[in-house]
Assembly symmetry: C2
Amino acid sequence: MLPELVIYLLGKNAHREGVRLTTKEMATELEVSQQTISRWMIELEQAGLIDRHGREIKLTQKAVAESERVYLTLRLALEAKRQFNFSGIVIEGLGTGKGFVKMPGYQKQFIKKLGFEAYPGTLNLKIPAGQIEQRLALRTAKPIIIEGFGNGSRRFGSLAAYKAKIFGEPAAIIFPEMSHHGLDVIELISPDNLRRRYKLAMGSGLQVLAGGGS
Amino acid sequence: MLPELVIYLLGKNAHREGVRLTTKEMATELEVSQQTISRWMIELEQAGLIDRHGREIKLTQKAVAESERVYLTLRLALEAKRQFNFSGIVIEGLGTGKGFVKMPGYQKQFIKKLGFEAYPGTLNLKIPAGQIEQRLALRTAKPIIIEGFGNGSRRFGSLAAYKAKIFGEPAAIIFPEMSHHGLDVIELISPDNLRRRYKLAMGSGLQVLAGGGS
DNA sequence: ATTACTAATTCACGAGTAA
DNA sequence: TTTACTCGTGAATTAGTAA
């Protein structure tokens, strides 16, 4: 387990620079005795988790690596569970979606990484301002990266994708590196022509359930 | 502190669904005795961190909330520390930078959120392919959002900004929602005309140190 | 098989204090 | 002042075993 003192020292920036802290100060903040801190410090030193030079305390690379392990465990468990629920209205695309989605350079990756071949076209959903916060939250989750490529004359940028469900069917929210939209529009791809299948016209309401994580 | 057993159970998905695990199995994986697991389970139950129905174990909301607290502490320390070091060559902008940077709708936010009024113009840095990965990593860090606005006739999109240093001076990398550049070009703003101050011509080498987080 | 109780033991804590 | 030692006390752990 990650010792409590390591987490405390991380909070003090001791992984970036040496910090000057007395055992008494730490004891007060962590609500244990000065003697216990002294013992903990000796243990951390012996375990190679901290370096001490005089009063300067610095976390070692090993301590950072250990912390990252725990962090990633928590991140995986806590971030992956997040469900992002977007609802808004369908708007007309700019016509650009049709062109790039069908490129084999993308489609091969859609099949491999998203599990479906995308219908050539994007569905654009305009979300209310209140959901922009959530959109930004979704973007902090680890995306499925669809790599960019060049086909000689033109370059197609990378896309960040997140798996989603529309009417219970698989879909994905994609964030092109070079987007033509503002923060209030999200672009969707799916294996079927959802626009036709579900009779979506411009202005139709639409709900999208996106699951974070890959 | 977050009990080791809670982190273990998070890894087993016990916050999403009941999991069937015996005390012996857990004891083996965590390298403690079966008796200790039994006691820990009773303690977690009494603390309201798990629910048990027969052999099904499920973490409670309280346990998830506790875990999130620790997670955020680690996230703050570990994510914020990331330093992104870009180096490349200065390229000519498309002339579009000059126009939008000076808009008061942006400048007010630059002063408030970045701490400086930006020189009207962007410095464009072309980075080698090897740094594109890093660029994507930077984009997963929480940006400083510069909100978009409309000035009647035209709409100016939102920008994602990250504080940076160029020659030790404050600067920021900006990612317009609607970028004209590919993944290998990053746009910079700063309070001074760095191009003139440091005699940067097209093709000059340039290093940028970006700190993640806001 | 399983969980959890009791008892023996080991280990961690903090008071006192030396360096 | 500081850190860290010794040592008495109590808490946590495990072995044995009942349920």
